[in-house]
Structure formats: C-alpha cells, structure tokens
C-alpha cells in the first residue's frame, strides 16, 4: 500500500542511507534495545523459578531510570516465561498430533536462533525434558509467585481496586476505565495465545516505559515482527488469511493495555493489508521474510526518514534570536531543535510542562545538556512566558492529526496554542503523516484516554512530609480526580503542520491522509 507509492524526493536521500537513519532513530525508540535485552534475559533465566535471581541481572542491565520498575519487569519476565511454555506446549501438541505440522515448524526455529535469545525456543527444550504435566504445574507456580510481586508494586495499585463509581467523573464514564490496565499489570487477564513480546510490550506501555505514539508504533511493529516470525501456519490454512486472525488477539491485548495510538492503528491497518496481500505461491518462510522486510521498510520510511525530514525542515524555520515555546515532550520536536542547534542557530527554548507526567523535564534536560539556551516552566506560568518573553514560534508535537484539522495531543497543548494565537505567535505542529487520521473530533471529552487517578497524588517522597494531602482522597466522599491524557486543539489555533510531505495548513490533513494511505 504505502510501498507502492514512491516516496517524495526529499525522502530518497535519507532512505538510501538506512544505517545512519537507524542510528539516529535509536533514542526515539527505546523499545528496541530493551525489548531485545528482556528477551535475552528471559531466555537465560528459563527454568529458574526464583524471582530474585531473575530480577537482578535485569535491573543491572536496565537504564538507571527504570530501576524502580524491577517488580514490574519481573512480572513481565514471568509472563514471558509462562507464555513461552504455553506456546511450546501447543507446539508439542501439534508435533504429536500430526507429522504434517512438523514440517513447517522446523523452519522458524533456526531463524529464531539466529535472532538470538528467543524465549519459546529455549523454554521449549526445557519443557520437553520435563513433560506436559510438569509444565502445567509450573504455570500454576507462576501464578503463586506473582502474588507477592504484585504486592510489592502496590504503591499505585490500591486506588483501582476500591475505585467505585462515585469516584469516577461522570463526564468521562464512557471512556475505558483504568481497571483493565490494572488487571493486565496484575496478571489477571488471560494471556492465552498472546505472544510474549506482545505481553512485554503491553506492560511497558502501562508503565509508560514506552510512551509517545512514535515509540509505541515502532515497538508494536517490532513485537508483531516477532509474532510473525514465531507464527506457524496451521494445517489446512493459508498464511495470508490465518495470520490476521492470529494477530487480532495480540492487537486486542495491546489495546486493553492502552488504547492504541492513531499511528499504531494506521500501521496495523497497513500490516493487515500487507498480510492479506501476501502471494499465495510462496512458502511460509518466504512470506514471513517478505513481511518482516516490509515492516522494517515501513519503520524506516514512515518513522525514521519521516522524522528526519520533518526535523530538518523545522530546523530550517528556526532563525537566530528566535524564542521557541514547546509543550511537554515530542521526539520530533526535540530532534528539530537539536538539528537547528547543530546547524549553529542561536535561539532560546522555553519548555512548558505540567503535572503529573512532567515529560518536559526530559526535554529540557536534553536540550540544556546539548548547549541550547533552555528555560523550563510549568503551565501556570504560561501567560508570563507568552506575554513577556518575546516568543517568536511555538512548536508542538502531535499524538494525532484529526480529519477536521484539529490536533489531538498531550493535555495542555490546546492552552499553549490558544495563548500563542492570542499573542499572535505562529503555532507550528510537527507530525509524521502516519499520525494522520480521518477520525474527527470537536472536543476533548468524547474521545480521550484516562490515566490512573493515583498519578495525581503527590507522594511523600516527592514533596517532603509537608504535603501529601491527596493520599487519602478515595476516602473523601464526593471528591473525584481527573487525569486525562489528551486534549483537542482547534484548527484555528494552528498555523502550519510540518510533515514529511512538506508544510501544510490544518485543512490539508485529510488530503495528506488520503495521499499517505493511498485510499
């Protein structure tokens, strides 16, 4: 679909050097290395039932910021292990059941080994020795060991278990509540038939380890690549029909972890078309190789190259002496600012941030460390920044560009755009075309995502013992907390959108969407 379109000229330069592009992209997609790491570890730890032994090397390997999550990661690994066993059990059953299935199954295995550290593979060998009965027992043990580890991460949990309907904001009752997320991270959702890499990804999304629609897109595609590699066409079925059925529960699982980002939905739609259009006259391994190549190319083209093109053309728009306001953190905005700095432009960046995620701190740190004149404020100081700092441009990231030209982005973006419009400062949105959608929306309430309310509670460690007034909020009758993730910025606030197709007004969103999807 997308590959049938020839990419615009600007893309060619970048696409032709995929190596440099991919090295650029690594910070954008932390999913990539961590995923691999995890898998390797879960492979190594196969068979070990002791959670402590499992968590130790993991914590050491994880970046410093992830240390706190060792309990979560531990769970992740356990999931992966358990899943691996189940998958293997099925594989065994299939092997026993019919020799016909054995044929195609032999092929993916060496491939997996080549990739290195594949959980099902090693787990399978282990299981073979122990036998099916043993395996089921092992599964149960997993469940028991999960109890304490879930308890260990209780710092945020209790809110959800007791959250009754009077604690839900009436206006947002229609949205998927956060209970499902809890159930997933507590291991209460059946993971039958879900690929371990998908489970790991879902858990990372819940904990915001993988956050931002581009990072989620890349991580999802990489996980699905793994799913495809480990997939075996059942007897009597064809890959181009059955693989989509096989993927559906995986997609649903991710969607339950966090509603799929628009970019992810777009990519899944593309992938499904790609799968169903697989030629029927090639072998499974050929079809798989074709699909994984396509996925890699898709990531290269739609994410990496597009991000570079946008960063470059946005950097061109920055002039010496500019004061640029940006909100929270967008990977592509960060890339654009760094690119402009690399080109020797002298400008100042004001990062506006908000509770409870404080994503802007990350951006401010990166920019400041790179040597850019950076200022950090919270959204309450927005009026001061916009009226007194001689702001010349506002750069905003996007979660999605809606069909009516509205911008769907991190909650608070609309206020920044509104103040910019008020002070006649151009608002520039940086967005890859993969984030464009034909969905339309007028307010921030009909469609949104609710994050756990407990994120708003300021913990004692964070603010010292003087604070923490909200710790008991569930017990206060009539008190509700609202923690939404996105808001909708009207098209009238937006001056231009920079995409890999060029700079466009918001009214061109549906045109670009048609162009990029080829519909």
């Amino acid at each position: 679909m997308a590959d049938s379109k020839s990419p615009p000229k600007t893309l060619d330069v970048v696409v032709s050097s995929p190596k440099s592009a991919s090295s650029e992209a690594t910070p954008q997609s932390p999913a990539n290395p961590t995923n691999a790491q995890n898998k390797q570890q879960s492979g190594k730890q196969k068979g070990q039932q002791q959670p402590k032994a499992a968590s130790k090397p993991d914590a050491a390997a994880a970046p410093a910021g992830e240390k706190k999550l060792s309990a979560k990661e531990l769970k992740e690994q356990k999931k992966a292990e358990k899943q691996a066993r189940r998958a293997q059990a099925k594989g065994d059953a299939a092997k026993d059941g019919g020799p016909a299935a054995g044929g195609p199954e032999g092929k993916p295995q060496p491939q997996q080994q080549k990739k290195g550290g594949n959980a099902p593979q090693k787990g399978g060998q282990n299981q073979n020795a122990q036998g099916g009965q043993q395996h089921r027992k092992g599964g149960h043990q997993q469940h028991h060991t999960q109890g304490p580890s879930a308890g260990a991460s209780k710092t945020v949990d209790p809110a959800f278990h007791h959250l009754d309907s009077t604690k839900e904001v009436a206006l947002f009752k229609h949205l998927e509540d956060t209970k499902k997320k809890r159930e997933i991270s507590d291991g209460l959702v059946p993971t039958e038939g879900i690929h371990p890499s998908v489970i790991a990804l879902g858990l990372k999304m819940i904990t915001y380890d993988i956050c931002g629609s581009v990072a989620r897109l890349v991580a999802t595609l990489l996980a699905f690549k793994q799913v495809i590699l480990d997939y075996t066409t059942p007897p009597g079925a064809s890959l181009n029909r059955d693989l989509n059925h096989h993927l559906s529960p995986q997609i649903q699982y991710l969607n339950a972890a966090r509603p799929n980002a628009t970019a992810v939905r777009n990519a899944i739609r593309w992938l499904k078309v790609e799968i169903s259009s697989s030629p029927i006259d090639i072998t499974d391994s050929e079809a798989k190789a074709r699909l994984t190549d396509r996925i890699d190319a898709f990531i290269q083209e739609k994410v990496m190259a597009a991000g570079r093109v946008i960063a470059e053309s946005a950097a061109e728009k920055i002039r010496d002496g500019d004061v640029i306001v940006t909100y929270a953190k967008s990977a592509v905005v960060q890339a654009a600012l760094l690119e402009a700095h690399k080109r020797g432009k002298k400008f100042k960046v004001c990062v506006i941030d908000s509770r409870p995620r404080f994503e802007g701190r990350n951006l401010a740190r990166t920019l400041g460390t790179a040597g850019i004149d950076t200022q950090y404020s919270l959204i309450t100081s927005l009026n001061y920044i916009m009226t007194n700092m001689n702001v010349t441009k506002v750069f905003l990231g996007a979660h999605a560009m809606l069909g009516n030209g509205y911008l769907y982005s991190r909650v608070g973006t609309a206020m920044v755009a509104m103040m910019a419009k008020d002070t006649e400062v151009p608002v520039i949105v940086l967005s890859e075309s993969i984030k464009f959608t034909d969905r339309v929306q007028l307010d921030s309430i009909v469609q949104n995502e609710r994050a756990p309310e407990s994120e708003l509670v300021i913990s004692a460690e964070e603010e010292g013992d003087a604070s923490g007034g909200l710790r008991e909020w569930e017990k206060v009758k009539n008190l509700q907390l609202l923690n939404i993730l996105y808001d909708v910025t009207p098209a009238s606030y937006i001056n231009t959108i920079i995409t890999e197709y060029g700079s466009l007004p918001p009214s061109s969103v549906p045109v670009v969407h048609r162009l990029s999807t080829g519909t």
Binding site: I379, T380, N383, M415, V476, K477
Partner: protein, 421 residues
C-alpha cells in the same frame, strides 16, 4: 527615627502576633512598629491581600492615635509617608496602598465634615464655572453645592479648600472620627467575604458546573453558601506548583492535623466545612486539563489578589490562561473580591506585576542535573486584562468591569491616588 523595635516574642511573626503587639505598645514605639511591618512585608511573613490590609489598618490606627498634631496636614503627610514606605516595601501587595488611601480619605472627610459648608468659603473657581456650564446645558437649575459627599462636583472642588479651615478644628474630635472610620474599615475587612457570599444564590443554579482555580477563602465561602441550597459540581484546577498543597489539603485534609490548622490560620481557610462535606461534587484536575474541561463548564469563578482601577486582575498564576480559555468558550468569568482589593492604581507596568516564586517548587531534587543546564521560571501572579472578566462581585454588589472606576472614585480621593511627593 528608629528607636527600638517592638518585635513580639514567641513563635514566628505573623499577622496575629503583629496585631496583638500593636495594641500593647507605647506611643514612642510606633515608629519602630512601622519598621517592623515593613520588614514583615519584605520578608513576606505577612502576605495576601486580606492579611496585609488588616495589618496596615491596625498600624495606621495606632499611628493616628499615638500622633499629636496641631495641623491636619501634619497627620496627612505622616500617613502618606508611612504609606509610601509600606508600598515600596512590597509593591505587589496593592491592598496595603489601598488601606493607606482609604485612611487618608477618611481624614479628609472628617476635616470637611467639621468645616463650615464649602459653598460659603469657596471662591468662584472651577467648580462654579462647571456648575453653570451644567445648568445651561441641561436647562436644570443648579443644585446648591452644600452636600459634598456624593456629587461629582465635590471631587473637583477638593483642592481649593482653604487650609486655615482645617487647622481651626480641634484635633481631638477629628481623631475620634478617624479612629471610628478605621474600625469600620477593619469591620469591612472581616465581613467582606460574608457579604459576597450572600449573593451566591443569585449566581449559581442547580446542577451547574463551576470551574475555579487554587484556593481562595472568598471563593470557598461563596460556593459553600450556594451549596446550602443547591447541588452542583465544582472543578478545581490545582495551581501547581504554588497552590496545590493547600488545595489538596483543603479538599481532603483532616481539620485537626497541626499542619492544617497552621494553614487555616494563615489563610483563613475552613477545614471543618469543606466543599465535599457540603455535598458538592468536587473534581480536581491538573492545570493542563482546563481547556479540555472548559467546554462543559457553565461559569468560572475566580478569587484574586488585587483588582486594578481599569478592572484588570492581579491573580494567582494560571488565572490568565483560564480566563482566556473561558473567553474562547464563551464561558462567563466571575471574579469575587472584597472592595478592599480594589486599587486606584492602573497597571502600566504589567511585567512588574508578575512576581517570580521559588523555582525549586517547579522541579524536584532529582532534577538537579537539569537545573544546571537550564533556567527554571515559576511566576506567582498573572495580570488578567479587564476584557477577560464578565462580572465582579464585591461586598458592594455585582459590577461590570467597566463600572469599577466609579467604585474606585467612591473609595479613594483623587489627590491620594499617588502617594509619592
């Protein structure tokens, strides 16, 4: 001038200790007390419009009672001088200057009431020519210029009053009148919130969704009064990073905990009767979600730090963005404020209004490495232009922003607007 400091003993200096000590001191210690208040203001140990207003009124009452004067100009210039020093100590606490001006107005009024009717002594100056101009235009016979209190002409007739009239009165009578007047101002300061709350039912209907920001005693009382009769929903933006602690604690705090009683004392917040206990549904949102929620909000009710003569606000940081978002959604913005917050000062220096707070509140200790490479700005106040506000509710009633100049004219004498010179 500075003889000895009448610094109260025991506990950190606060409004209460200041007010207590000021009633006890000798007349000779009054100048020291002025210095003491100046240092309290500078160190922000007394802050907030109401607290600074109460402190100023108490100080001036003591100054008036302790000062002996032979000529009324002496006390006027003395209070002007004190007012100048106090406002310079903390230029953003506009309420200090407001109270000084109110007291100056009181003195002038006392002098005029004591003096014989001005018409007898007035030379045929500007006032009379204006009067005749008026009568020829309107065709109405000019009213006798006997009562100077409410007429517009009286404002213009102030300066020609001959000085010998003032000096001729006994300072004792005037002094008693002034003290009485300052006591009335103090009364007004304590009853303003109740009077404002009395009109709450005229402005809030049942099932309404009200958005407010941060904590404000005036807003809290207003909403509580309405909650007695109606049930509605209140959305509160928490005002991070300066106000969220108080907001959180007022919403869910235990009234008996020692930290909370300190907050209650400092800011006059009521923990016993909170909005949730009054049966209102309270939705707490981060400041970023204001725009998203605004489309469902019926009214925005804001407290304020001060109101400028043109109807603009000096309010907690975040108020400007909230009122702008309200304007975008055609949601009315109601400002509740005691008349003592109404200042005759025009906001010519908007930038100067914005005070910078502790940047440490905007970042955590863990982010120390970030602070090394970038500036952190945390503003405390926003200036909200008058066109963002739809209605003011003061203890005198509800007013359009365009009407505020008239209330300013009622409260302050034009010659006192500038305390300099």
């Amino acid at each position: 001038m500075v003889t000895q400091r009448a610094v109260p003993v025991g506990g950190p200096p606060s409004l209460d200790s200041f007010v207590k000590s000021i009633t006890k001191i000798e007349a000779s210690q009054v100048p020291g007390m002025v210095d003491h208040l100046i240092s309290l203001l500078k160190r922000r140990q007394i802050r907030g419009s109401r607290n600074t207003a109460v402190a100023t009124a108490n100080l001036l009452m003591r100054v008036v009672s302790a000062t002996k004067w032979s000529h009324v100009d002496a006390i006027i210039s003395k209070i002007r001088e004190i007012g100048r020093r106090l406002t310079r100590a903390q230029p953003r606490e506009l309420a200090v200057g407001n109270i000084v001006r109110r007291v100056l107005g009181l003195i002038r009024e006392e002098v005029e009431n004591d003096s014989p009717p001005p018409s007898a002594s007035l030379p045929a100056g500007t006032t009379l020519s204006l009067q005749s101009a008026h009568s020829t235009q309107g065709g109405v016979p000019a009213a006798p210029l006997g009562q100077p209190s409410t007429s517009m002409f009286s404002l213009l007739s102030q300066n020609p009053t001959p000085q010998k009239d003032k000096s001729s009165h006994s300072s004792k009578n005037i002094k008693a009148g002034i003290m009485e007047g300052i006591r009335e101002i103090l009364d007004e300061l304590s009853t303003a919130d109740d009077l404002i709350a009395a009109s709450a039912l005229e402005h809030i209907h049942s099932n309404e969704i009200i958005l407010t920001m941060g904590y404000s005693v005036t807003v809290q009382r207003f909403l509580l009064r309405a909650a007695q009769k109606r049930s509605f929903t209140v959305i509160i933006a928490e005002g991070y990073p300066n106000d969220q602690d108080k907001v959180h604690q007022v919403l869910s705090g235990d009234p008996d905990s020692p930290g909370n009683s300190q907050i209650a004392e400092d800011s006059h917040l009521t923990f016993q009767q909170t909005l949730t206990r009054a049966g209102l549904i309270v939705i707490l949102i981060p400041d970023s979600a204001v725009y998203a929620m605004m489309s469902r909000v019926n009214k925005v009710i804001l407290g304020t730090h001060a109101v400028t003569a043109n109807g603009g606000l000096v309010a907690a940081a975040g108020a400007a963005v909230i009122s702008k978002a309200a304007k975008e959604h055609r949601t009315p913005v109601v400002v509740v404020a005691g008349a003592y917050k109404l200042s005759p000062v025009h906001p010519f220096d908007v930038e100067g209004i914005s005070e910078h707070g502790d940047p440490g509140k905007a970042v955590r200790w863990e982010d120390a490495d970030m602070v090394e490479s970038c500036d952190v700005v945390n503003t405390l106040f926003d200036y909200v232009p008058p066109n963002m506000v739809d209605l003011y509710i003061t203890n005198l009633g509800g007013h359009a922003p365009s009407y505020l100049y008239r209330i300013v004219a009622d409260h302050y004498r034009p010659e006192d607007v500038s305390l300099d010179g």
